[in-house]
């Protein structure tokens, strides 16, 4: 210490890269260093002995001056942070002295100097934190932007959910119209063919609706929020319906579709039929899309069976363009197609197989693909399903004479032989290439009970058969029946002279392909019983549906239908008429309230069918008004059934919370509607 002269100490202080000010008890300047001189533009010699108040105008009554006073009088050290005191002293960046825009940001420490001197001194140390402030501001800005981005993303996500909800509503409304109209159409005077078409149109519309639901569900799957239903259903029927709805497209391309469910001995299972239909629809539509000629086989195999469960392999095999083997693994990834040109040529989102795999996995299964370019594709998925408690009614066996089966397609032939044999029938199965002509003699000899012929057989062949058949039938009382396998849309097929010829045969029955076991069995039953001759098989389901809606003769009942969409009005009115109910229509909540008020004293409504989303006043508001407003006191307890296309979870709760009694999701299921109306009118 003794070696440190004052000169050295001064020099050292002047070299420091912080500002140092020393003041005495009266706050007069004793010293400031070179740094302070540089940043303030002042010279020590000129200021020494001046009051700090006079040197720096802004020092007067400042927090810094207070801190200095405390330090001098009580010895309390103080720290002045930049945040509360950004620029306590007029210090500027070098070369910008006096420029307010270039004040430096400061951080100050004030402390009494511990000396033995009688009068205390105080030192003020100033740090230049301008750079640090800038750095933190930049960081803060980035953090703020980050937060804003995150909020934006959250809002975007919310609006996406809202968009999905809206889309769900918007798409469901027209489909509701389509389905409703098709239901009504099915009950009008239709030819068998028209009936068949309308049934298929309805199945397709339902498939479309399911697809839309499922695509909307894709986000749910991604979020792990998709629930798999557990409801008892007939798997064979589900598969048949799905394939039938799709097959018309395949047949238009000249592709044979064969559904072989013979291995499914226990078709009543518990599971989610719409999800399984969705999987099959998806695989089948791909198969049809990528196949130009040949056939598509849908084969169900039972791999394991216990008393409780059944394990199934469902295979969809096509003879299409195939997939390069090394690309097979990527197929199930979202938004992946074999290559970009696929999308251009065949369309599609590339989402289908991803959904399919996720659905399989959700149902405790998985899916695999085997394919080679140009060799067709084979998609097989497996599922484990619980068996339904209900017992399956086994097929009734036949004891008739052999059946002669002649088809163009080998797979179809094989499947039909297998199926017919299972029913106890002997089958002679031939394809067009076989020794068919030799069989004609046998036909003439009355060796067969039924002839099953493919419509697409060579015309000369059909003619020969027709002649043989004619010869036989003219000699025997018990005539040989003829079943002609047609495509779904037989107006499309070229009607040859021989088909015409066959058509004149009174024993002719037509069965549309793809052949569904149940339809074939039904046809054979009626053919063998020969009590009534069914010439065309319609979807058995629609027959059931029309039975369910018995006419209700309660003309007195007053129902108010509140619905803004004209098509939906008509659908609902049509259904109500069918059940035998009268109904008035209101086009929104306000209109409904008017009608209710008018009628409540004379002939009050007993039931209101209430749409939820309507212009001017929605169903929720209308319901609340009816339940709470004194104006409608006489009708305040009327039963209200909500009918809404909203299918998002929570809708039902919302309806009930508004005071409605029950809830029906659109598209309206006619049977359910009839049930609910009957229930609430009884109440």
């Amino acid at each position: 210490m003794t070696n440190l002269s004052n000169d050295i100490l001064y020099a050292t202080l002047n070299q420091l890269s912080v500002g140092i000010i020393i003041i005495d008890e009266q706050q007069r300047l004793v010293f400031f260093n070179q740094w302070l001189s540089d940043y303030s533009g002042m010279v020590l010699d000129e200021q020494e002995g001046n009051l700090l108040d006079d040197i720096f105008e802004q020092y007067q009554d400042s927090r810094l001056s207070g801190a200095c006073e405390s330090a001098l009088s009580l010895g309390l050290p103080a720290r002045l942070s930049h945040t509360f005191n950004p620029t306590p002293l007029p210090l500027y960046q070098k070369n910008f002295i006096g420029d307010k825009d270039h004040l430096i940001q400061q951080q100050i420490s004030v402390k009494r100097i511990a000396t033995n001197a009688s009068t205390p001194l105080c030192q003020i140390v100033i740090d230049n934190v301008t750079h640090m402030v800038k750095k933190e501001q930049t960081l803060q800005k980035l953090a703020d932007e980050n937060i804003v981005q995150r909020q934006k993303a959250e809002i975007a996500n919310q609006s996406k959910s809202q968009f999905l909800a809206n889309m769900s509503h918007e798409i469901r409304t027209p489909i509701n119209g389509v389905l409703g109209m098709l239901t009504l159409l099915a009950d009008t005077q239709l030819s068998k063919t028209q009936h068949h078409f309308s049934t298929l149109a309805k199945v397709s519309a339902e498939t479309l609706l399911n697809l839309i639901n499922d695509i909307l569900d894709f986000s749910k799957i991604e979020a792990g929020k998709l629930d798999i239903e557990k409801i008892a259903f007939n798997l064979t029927d589900s598969i048949a319906e799905t394939v039938q709805a799709m097959a018309i497209k395949a047949q238009q391309k000249g592709i044979e579709v064969v559904v072989d469910t013979t291995a499914l001995t226990q078709p009543l299972v518990v599971g989610d039929s719409s999800r399984i239909k969705q999987i099959i629809t998806n695989l089948l539509s791909n198969a049809i899309k990528f196949t130009e000629q040949g056939e598509i086989n849908i084969i169900v195999e039972t791999t394991e069976q216990t008393a409780e469960i059944v394990k199934l392999d469902i295979v969809v095999v096509d003879t299409g363009i195939g997939i390069p083997t090394k690309k097979c693994d990527e197929l199930f990834n979202a938004f992946t197609q074999v290559d970009a040109s696929t999308t251009r040529e065949y369309g599609g989102t590339g989402l289908g197989l991803t959904i399919v795999r996720q659905l399989c996995q959700l149902m405790g299964g998985d899916i695999a693909v085997k394919s080679e370019q140009g060799q067709g594709s084979q998609f097989s998925f497996y599922l484990t399903l619980e068996k339904s408690e209900k017992l399956n009614k086994p097929w009734q066996r036949f004891t008739e004479k052999p059946i002669l089966l002649i088809t163009t397609n080998q797979s179809n032939n094989k499947f039909l032989c297998k199926q017919l044999s299972l029913w106890g029938l002997d089958v002679v199965g031939e394809t067009a290439e076989g020794e068919v002509l030799a069989l004609c003699n046998k036909i003439a000899n009355n060796d067969f009970s039924v002839l099953v012929l493919d419509e697409s057989l060579d015309s000369s062949l059909l003619e020969a058969i027709s002649n043989a058949l004619f010869k036989n039938n003219s000699q025997h009382d018990k005539k040989v029946q003829l079943i002609l396998l047609t495509s779904i849309d037989d107006s499309q097929s070229s009607i040859s002279a021989s088909v015409d010829l066959l058509g004149k045969n009174e024993c002719l029955h037509k069965l549309p392909k793809p052949i569904i076991s149940a339809s074939l069995h039904q046809l054979l039953t009626s053919v063998f019983s020969s009590k009534s001759i069914v010439t065309d098989i319609v979807n058995p389901k629609s027959a059931k549906a029309s039975q369910a809606n018995q006419i209700n003769e309660s003309g007195e009942v007053r129902i108010l239908l509140v619905e803004d969409n004209r098509i939906n009005q008509e659908v609902a009115l049509g259904l109500l008429r069918k059940f035998g109910y009268q109904a008035d229509v209101a086009k929104n909540g306000i209109h409904a309230l008017e009608l209710l008020a008018q009628r409540q004293l004379s002939a009050p409504y007993k039931l209101i069918l209430m749409d939820c989303q309507m212009p001017e006043m929605d169903g929720y508001q209308a319901t609340i008004a009816i339940r709470t407003d004194n104006l409608y006191q006489a009708s305040s307890q009327v039963s209200i059934i909500a009918m809404t296309a909203n299918s998002m979870t929570g809708d039902q709760e919302k309806c009930l919370a508004a005071g409605m009694n029950d809830y029906l999701a659109k598209p309206i299921n006619p049977n359910l509607l009839a049930e609910k109306i009957a229930f609430w009118l009884d109440n």
Partner: protein, 207 residues
């Protein structure tokens, strides 16, 4: 073992600390746009172990603290402690930050140091002014960590002058804890000063 202060002495001590802390509130109000009210509900003199329990901080809880060492008539360490969340809240409220912050930046730590410094100085000022003690005080520092890292000066035999401080802001109430950790000798001197002070007042009022 030291004799505890009488209730009267504790009351007097609480009173003078409240005067000091009132000044600190004034200083804070000048620094920030918010109106801050500071109160000291109670002052206690406790063995360190009990004071530590009083703080009610879990051992794994992050604490932000401002500390100043002192020496002279009595020596030890003054601590103003907040839970990390409360510290963040206080700084962002006083700085008027709208966006919640997750961690104090260096400059914000510095602002907490200044707040702590103002409050601790008020306490020191009270001690120096009323108790006529001579102490020298060091610059404030910021420390962060769990209670065992912060409450360091202690040995089993040390004592704490424990002061709970309530920050009443218009929108929020935040609690801070002040501890003057002293060894037993310092505490005895401190208590002696308090007794002298109280005796001074009472004898004045009697005389």
């Amino acid at each position: 073992m030291t004799e505890n202060l009488t209730p009267l002495e504790v009351d007097a001590l609480t009173e003078i600390f409240n005067i000091g802390i009132g000044r600190a509130a004034n200083s804070l109000n000048q620094m920030v746009s918010q109106t801050v009210d500071l109160t000291i509900p109670k002052i206690e003199i406790l063995p360190n172990i009990e004071a530590k329990q009083k703080l009610n901080f879990d051992s794994d809880m992050e604490i932000s603290a401002v500390t100043q060492q002192f020496s002279g008539d009595f020596k030890g360490q003054a601590l103003l402690m907040f839970s990390k969340e409360n510290g963040l809240q206080l700084v962002s409220l006083l700085l008027g930050n709208k966006i919640p912050i997750e961690d104090l930046s260096e400059l914000e730590q510095d602002s907490l140091v200044e707040i702590g410094n103002v409050i601790l100085n008020a306490c020191f000022g009270t001690v120096i002014n009323f108790l006529q003690s001579s102490i020298s005080i060091e610059m404030p520092e910021f420390v962060q960590g769990n209670i065992n890292k912060i409450f360091t000066y202690s040995s089993e035999h040390d004592w704490s002058l424990y002061i709970k401080v309530k920050f009443s802001l218009p929108s929020e109430n935040i609690a801070g804890h002040i501890s003057f950790i002293m060894d037993i000798t310092s505490l005895e001197i401190f208590q002696e000063s308090v007794r002298k002070f109280v005796f001074g007042i009472t004898s004045k009022s009697q005389g």
